[in-house]
Structure formats: structure tokens, C-alpha cells
């Protein structure tokens, strides 16, 4: 058996510390599964090791050389922007691809990637939702949307920009009534929401953080507008937000949207896979979005390694070979147990831009359920 290493970058003490137990836990468990059920046959064993970067680019930069020397990994798993920004310049020369757990960002949208997102950008996902929702509700004319964003992080700004770009190019579909800027932990959004509702907003898009979802929800409740739903993303989705609001019922009729499996109670394919990991492979994470995020990035990485090993031989796998495998194979939805739709990378972008679908989750009668799956993602021009 040849053993290869995977570097697992994690944020146990920074802003995403709350989700890290699930995210990192699912990575470990997925690797254990692969070793037992795939690697054994191939003659490949994988070892994974966590590094804490506190969501800080400086920390990533100082950790990386050590990771390289100590592990000599063939692939790295990242959490967010700091990994991508600190490493983007060095990965090509180090020959190590990096798989992110999140959706992509406009600022990473460059050709010849070494950093890969398993999903398209947040703006893509939001756009898919808007079009689905408009059709679903049979709305004539464009759907009026308002975006709650924040300048606290460039990533939030980027999401806003992406939606702006989309709205600009799809005037028949949506009309962006306003982009509201708030703090990381908004004091009160009642006035702001009152304003956008007066302008006719039909959907409130909150893809920043949980605190903003909570504030927006409370504002809508205060205004008595349960007819206007909030749409959330994966990192601030329904489960997390419901926990912060004190109950699933609070989010009745609201939505979350993203291009990976939804951790609902339904006996879906991904859930079955999760249950297996839980039963046999010491899965630490609960059935949550972060766990799915950890699974999707790890599965992409594992399938790429698998493909590479098959192609170059189990004892000749390198980072370069893994990257080649990523770019030359489609990772099918079956291969990821339905955690992702089919993922095909091109040399044009670090994330799949076409042929992908998203799922929409919602709360119905106090229960978290899938509202739609396989919703096609529209094309958005690069911003």
C-alpha cells in the first residue's frame, strides 16, 4: 500500500469555529470510508491531518511551508477565503491542488485553476433560486429582490456584486430593489426592511451570516410580513439560523439554496451515505450543512485521487496528477452519493459553471424539507 497525505485546513478558533467540528469531522470520516472501501482495492491509503489557521491568511501562509515539508500532501482541503488568497500564488509551483468547502467567489474566477470549489458561486445559487421561485409563484414580470449584505468581509461584498451582475443581465427575471449594508451583527433592520418592502421587495436575500438572518427575520416578524421569504445560503442556512432563532418554526416558509445535498430528515441517497459513515466510520459531525460541506469537498478530492491512481498507478500519484484528474474527469453525482450534482471542471474557472443544479430547502409545518431539487443554474457573466 502507498500512503498519501491530505492536509486539512480548519478554523477552530476563528469566525467559523462553530461549524468546524462537523466540517472537519466529516472529512476524517469520509477519508476513513474511502480507505476501507475504495483505497484498499486500489492499494492506496490516505492520511488526513488538521491544521488550525484561525481564518487568517497570515496563519495559512506561515503554516503552508511546514505542511508541505511535513506531509508533502497530494491535495489540500480548505475552508474559505484565507486559504485561497494565501495559497493561490504558490499552489502551481508546489503542485498541490486545493479543494474548498464553499461555493466560489467572483474574485477567484480566474482561468487555469489550482483552487477548486465543488459548487458555483453564491450568486449563481441565488440566481437559480430567484428563477425557480418566480416560476413557482407564477410571478408576472421580474421578481423584486432586496439583498442584505455587509462590508465586514470582502466575500460578502463579492456575493452582492455577483447578484448585481446577474440582475443586470436578467432584467426579465429579477429586479434588485436595494442592497442594504449592515454590520456583522446588525442592531436592528426594521426600518431598512420596511423601506425595501415599501419598494415592493418580494424576496429578501441574506447570504452573509446567521446574525443578519436573525435580524432580518425579526424585522419581518415585527412588520408582520410573513409573506416575504428570506433566502439563505449554505453557511447561514435554515438549520443554523433556526437554532439561532430558537426554533425551526420561526423560519416557516423561508428558503435556503445551494448546490449540494440538503441535510433533511428524508431518506435520501446522501443521508444513507451519512448514516453509513456514522455507523461504521466514526463520523463526528451531525447531519448538518457543514457536514455536507466537508463531505462534498472531501468526496471530490477522494474521487480525483481515485481517478489519478487508476490512471498513473497507485504508487505514482502526485498533486499534479490529482489536478489533471480533476480537470479531465466528470465527477458524477452517483460518485458523490448525490451530495453534489455532476461536477465538471474546465480550465476557465475554479468551479463548475454549467450543467450544475442546486437544491432548495424550506421549512414546512415546522419541519425542514426539500422544496425542490435539481434546479438548473443560469449562466452569469464573470464580474
Amino acid at each position: 500500500d502507498t500512503t498519501y497525505n491530505i492536509a486539512s485546513l480548519a478554523d477552530f478558533t476563528g469566525p467559523y469555529a462553530d461549524v468546524m467540528k462537523d466540517l472537519a469531522g466529516s472529512r476524517h470520516s469520509a477519508v476513513a470510508w474511502w480507505n476501507a472501501e475504495v483505497g484498499k482495492e486500489l492499494g492506496v491509503t490516505l492520511a488526513i491531518k488538521d491544521y488550525d489557521h484561525r481564518y487568517d491568511a497570515a496563519q495559512v501562509a506561515s503554516l503552508w511551508p511546514g505542511i508541505k515539508a511535513e506531509l508533502n500532501p497530494i491535495i489540500a482541503l480548505g475552508v474559505g477565503a484565507p486559504d485561497a488568497t494565501a495559497l493561490a500564488g504558490r499552489l502551481p509551483s508546489d503542485g498541490i491542488p486545493l479543494i474548498m468547502s464553499t461555493a466560489g467567489y467572483g474574485f477567484g474566477w480566474k482561468p487555469d485553476p489550482w483552487v477548486f470549489n465543488p459548487r458555483a458561486t453564491y450568486a449563481h445559487e441565488a440566481a437559480a433560486f430567484f428563477e425557480w421561485y418566480r416560476k413557482e409563484k407564477g410571478i408576472e414580470g421580474p421578481l423584486k429582490i432586496a439583498v442584505i449584505t455587509s462590508e465586514a468581509s470582502p466575500a460578502y461584498v463579492d456575493i452582492g456584486k455577483g447578484i448585481e451582475k446577474y440582475a443586470h443581465g436578467a432584467t426579465d427575471q429579477v429586479e434588485l430593489v436595494e442592497m442594504v449594508f449592515t454590520e456583522v451583527q446588525p442592531t436592528d433592520l426594521t426600518t431598512q426592511l420596511n423601506r425595501v418592502l415599501k419598494k415592493g421587495a418580494q424576496v429578501i436575500d441574506v447570504q452573509t451570516n446567521t446574525a443578519a438572518v436573525v435580524a432580518a427575520k425579526r424585522a419581518l416578524q415585527a412588520l408582520g410580513r410573513s409573506d416575504v421569504p428570506i433566502v439563505m445560503s449554505s453557511h447561514n442556512g435554515i438549520t443554523a439560523s433556526a437554532r439561532a432563532l430558537g426554533g425551526m418554526a420561526e423560519l416557516e416558509g423561508d428558503y435556503e439554496v445551494y448546490g449540494m445535498a440538503m441535510p433533511t430528515d428524508e431518506a435520501t441517497e446522501p443521508k444513507k451515505f451519512y448514516d453509513k459513515l456514522k455507523a461504521d466510520y466514526a463520523m463526528q459531525g451531525a447531519w448538518t450543512v457543514p457536514t455536507v460541506m466537508g463531505l462534498n469537498q472531501t468526496l471530490v478530492a477522494l474521487r480525483a485521487i481515485e481517478a489519478a491512481a487508476k490512471k498513473v498507478g497507485p504508487d505514482k500519484v502526485t498533486g499534479q496528477a490529482v489536478r489533471d484528474a480533476l480537470l479531465s474527469n466528470t465527477i458524477t453525482s452517483a460518485q458523490t452519493f448525490g451530495v453534489l450534482s455532476d461536477v465538471t471542471y474546465t480550465n476557465e474557472a475554479p468551479f463548475p459553471t454549467s450543467g450544475i443544479t442546486v437544491n432548495v430547502g424550506t421549512v414546512k409545518d415546522g419541519k425542514y424539507v426539500t422544496a425542490a431539487d435539481g434546479v438548473a443554474v443560469p449562466t452569469i457573466e464573470k464580474w
Binding site: F12, M20, K21, D50, D52, A57, G66, E70, G106, P154
Partner: protein, 350 residues
């Protein structure tokens, strides 16, 4: 106080930094060690050392501004960011070589800092200090809201590696040496400034700005100068950072980074260049030790979970800083000088 038997026979001797053969030897050994470091330790430690060198430049600047001139500065990370961005713009938009781009970064940061220092014309004491927090927000706002083509906005900016006569500073080792040389120059310069009339004027303004005015010191200019010098150092550090990571983004320079920098000079000792260096080394060493040991901990005791282990790190670091302030508010350098003094007087206690 001098060691017994060492008497200054000239002013040069009295003022020299290196006053005994032993000190000279120690310094030479340190330099030699730093030069040989990449041969002695693994790449991870070289990267840590590079981070220390860059941080050292920034912290020494902060020491001049805060420790010497008494102007607590919570905008040091923003100043560093200004330097990093200026360097990035110079290097990419104007394709200037690094040996121009980095000093340009320093100058841009210095100008930014100077503007804040100038408010000393009117604003004094803690009011002045707290305006530096505004520097942080203004920096953040400007980067994100100026036209994207200027500073890259939320996209950040990528750089090509530094290059000198065809030699490309792309490997970790070469970057280490680049940082070492520049940090050495900057630190030596800081010692020079601290011992010069300007350094004294900084301290004078800190201790009693009314009296220093009447001694012929232009108080406003001196305070602004302190900010300027401090920010210049931050800018140089930012420039190095830009070439080290080769990507600058606004969230690399947050208020929390500024706070950490202040913590470093607290631990090392306020008002001493060496103290700033000690603080940087101590804090980063502790932090890196924890971060390196963390995964091992988790492997040994998986039930603990990463969240517990790493949260403990923050508590530990915060605890250390607090402990320093409680037991040795004047920092490690003070402890050291007491030790040195009693060692010299030994066996007589006083």
C-alpha cells in the same frame, strides 16, 4: 548600569549599543544563527521565522510610535495594509521592481499615518489614540469602495514574486533572506532613531508635552513624526507581506491584528526596540507551538475535539499577555535588566 569593571572612556563607548566584548559576540552569533537558519531548521520554521521578521518590522514601528512617543496606535495593521496595497499597486499597475515598490509602500503608509499624526495639532491624549481606530475603518472602507481598478476592491490584488537581476524570490528560503536583510536594516535604523535627538524628542513628548514645547521641541511635528515613522515601518512590513503572500486583501489587516501587535510590544516591554523584538518572538513562538501541537493533541485525544484544543490557545495567549501586565507591566526587557543588574552586583544584593 554598567557591569563592574566596564567604564566608558569615551562618549562613543558610553553610547554604543554593544558595550562589551560579550555583547558583541552575542550579536555576531545571533546574526550568524539567523543567516544559517534555513540550513538548521525545517521549512515550517523558516516560514515562521519569515512571519516573525515581517511582524518584527511592523512591531518595531509600533514601538517607536507607542513605546517611545507614547501614542498608542491601534491602526498599525491599517498602516501595514496601506503599505501592502501601495506596494501591490506599484508592482502590478506600474510594474516597478520590488526595491522601489517596498519603499514606496513605506512612504504611502507613512503619509497615511502622518495625516493621523497631524490631528495632534488639536487632539491630545487618549482622544488622539482612539482616532487611530478610525484609521482602521477608513482604510477598510476606502479599499472596498474606491474603483476596483485602483485597489482591487473586494477582489484583492495579486503580485508577481520579487525579482532582482533575474533572481526570483519565489522560494520560501529566498523570501526569508529578503525579509532578513530588510528587517535587519529596519531594526538597526530603529536603534539609531531611538538613540538620536528624534528618539529623545519622542520620549520627551510622551513624558511631558508641555515642557517639551518649551524646550524647543515642536510637539505637533514630533507626534506626527512618530506616527509617520511608525507607519513607515508598518508600510515596509506591509510591502514585505505583499511579496511574501503575493496577494493582498483588505481582511488581512484588521483591528484585531493591530491589537495583537500592541500585545506583542506589551509582552516584550514598552519603550524598547529589543523589547518589541522579544515580544514578537515570544508571542509568535507560543502561538505556533500551540498550532503545531494542536493536531497532535487531537490525534492523541480525539474526544477533546479541535474546537476545545484551539479555543484553549486563545485563553492561554490572552492569559500570558494579562499575566505579563500584572506581574511585569514593564515587559520582559525590564525583567531582563533587573536580572542583569543583580547578576552584575552579585554577590552583593544591592
Amino acid at each position: 548600569m554598567d557591569p563592574a569593571g566596564v567604564f566608558a572612556t569615551s562618549f562613543a563607548r558610553d553610547q554604543a549599543l554593544i558595550r562589551t566584548g560579550k555583547q558583541g559576540l552575542a550579536l555576531a552569533l545571533l546574526l550568524l544563527f539567523l543567516l544559517a537558519l534555513p540550513e538548521l531548521v525545517g521549512p515550517r520554521l523558516v516560514a515562521v521565522a519569515t512571519a516573525m521578521l515581517i511582524t518584527a518590522v511592523v512591531a518595531v514601528g509600533l514601538q517607536i510610535c507607542t513605546g517611545y512617543a507614547g501614542q498608542v496606535n491601534l491602526g498599525q495593521a491599517a498602516f501595514m495594509g496601506a503599505g501592502a496595497y501601495a506596494t501591490a499597486v506599484a508592482a502590478t499597475t506600474y510594474s516597478l521592481p520590488f526595491w522601489i515598490a517596498i519603499p514606496l509602500g513605506g512612504c504611502a503608509a507613512a503619509a497615511f499615518g502622518f495625516v493621523f499624526g497631524l490631528s495632534a495639532v488639536r487632539i491630545k491624549g487618549f482622544y488622539l489614540v482612539l482616532t487611530t481606530i478610525a484609521a482602521q475603518s477608513i482604510f477598510h472602507f476606502l479599499v472596498l469602495n474606491l474603483p476596483q481598478s485602483w485597489l482591487g476592491g473586494s477582489n484583492g490584488m495579486s503580485l508577481m514574486p520579487a525579482e532582482l537581476f533575474g533572481f526570483v524570490f519565489a522560494t520560501d528560503r529566498s523570501i526569508y533572506y529578503l525579509c532578513l536583510v530588510i528587517a535587519a536594516i529596519m531594526v538597526a535604523g530603529a536603534f539609531g532613531i531611538a538613540r538620536s535627538r528624534h528618539g529623545r524628542a519622542f520620549v520627551a513628548v510622551r513624558d511631558d508635552d508641555v515642557a517639551s514645547g518649551m524646550m524647543g521641541i515642536d510637539v505637533v511635528r514630533t507626534k506626527a513624526m512618530a506616527f509617520l515613522v511608525g507607519a513607515f515601518y508598518a508600510g515596509i512590513g506591509g510591502g514585505l507581506w505583499a511579496y511574501y503572500v503575493r496577494f493582498v486583501a483588505v481582511d488581512q489587516f484588521t483591528l484585531f491584528h493591530s491589537i495583537w501587535l500592541v500585545a506583542m510590544i506589551i509582552v516584550g516591554g514598552i519603550g524598547s526596540v529589543t523589547g518589541a523584538l522579544v515580544g514578537v518572538v515570544v508571542i509568535i513562538t507560543i502561538r505556533e507551538t500551540f498550532i503545531s501541537l494542536g493536531p497532535t493533541f487531537i490525534q492523541i485525544a480525539p474526544s477533546l475535539g479541535g474546537d476545545v484544543v484551539f479555543a484553549a490557545l486563545n485563553v492561554f495567549l490572552g492569559g500570558i499577555i494579562a499575566a505579563f501586565l500584572i506581574f511585569e507591566p514593564r515587559g520582559l526587557m525590564h525583567r531582563w535588566s533587573i536580572l542583569k543588574r543583580s547578576y552584575r552586583l552579585w554577590p552583593f544584593p544591592y
